[in-house]
């Protein structure tokens, strides 16, 4: 789903902007040749794919990158290294 969400070039542009820092809808629309309603629509798709998240700051809503992708990689490698070091200790202690 995330892959499909980033398959659209405009959504990729929006995502890349958000990677550089959180932005409001209006700010994104000002930086890209895309209307505000279109930006909102793209953000909705990105949000559903869990690539971006929204946070309310007072009356403003700002969008930022959802770091779940990095977190998933971390969890995965935590698991791999956990198994690896357990095996490693066993091999080290073989006599």
């Amino acid at each position: 789903m995330a892959f499909a969400a980033l398959g659209d070039p405009t959504r990729r542009e929006i995502f890349t902007l958000l990677v550089a820092g959180p932005r409001a809808v209006g700010e994104i629309a000002a930086e890209l040749p895309v209307s505000r309603p279109a930006v909102s629509q793209h953000l909705k798709v990105l949000k559903e794919a869990r690539l971006v998240r929204v946070e309310a700051q007072g009356t403003r809503r700002r969008y930022s990158v959802d770091h779940v992708g990095v977190a998933a990689m971390r969890d995965y490698l935590d698991d791999v290294w956990g198994q690896a070091l357990a095996n490693f200790a066993a091999v080290v202690e073989e006599r």
Partner: protein
């Protein structure tokens, strides 16, 4: 935090632990995790700075995993990890994470600590990095294949 920390106390000297970690990598690495098409036959950590870190398949094919950033036996080893979330090799150092392993005497044994850090670098898009707009925490984009695999 975007890092993994693991630690194990082994009943052996640091020299031996360092040797097993580097010379016998394939004996303890979970064998299912490799990138070549054939089964895993060996994993080589070349014993010097800037050395290669690569796997060898049963078909003889070599696939790089990364490189040796610091070779300090028997106390410390620093490896660059160039595999993204799809287990694809990415040669760009700007998009590599790193694995630091330290070997410290503790009682009669050795404490082996492993830190795998900077996963966010696997998401950095090179052209953005060069433009200097990578933003906070080094984020500059996302690897599409990675997103497919993990998000």
């Amino acid at each position: 935090m975007t890092e993994v920390r693991r630690s194990v106390l082994v009943n052996a000297g640091a020299d031996h632990a360092f040797k097993v970690f580097t010379e016998k990598f394939v004996t303890w690495w979970p064998a299912g995790h490799h990138i070549g098409e054939a089964d895993l036959k060996d994993v080589v950590v070349e014993p010097f700075q800037h050395g290669r870190w690569y796997e060898v398949g049963t078909d003889g094919a070599e696939c790089d995993w990364g490189s040796v950033k610091a070779w300090e036996p028997p106390a410390r080893l620093l490896l660059a990890w160039h595999l993204n979330g799809d287990w694809d090799y990415d040669p760009d150092p700007a998009r590599a994470s790193e694995v630091e392993i330290t070997f410290t005497a503790e009682g009669d044994g050795t404490r082996v600590e492993l830190v795998h850090r900077n996963f966010e670098r696997h998401f950095v898009k090179p052209e953005r990095l060069r433009e200097g707009v990578s933003g906070e925490g080094g984020w500059g984009g996302i690897l599409l294949g990675f997103a497919k695999a993990f998000v």
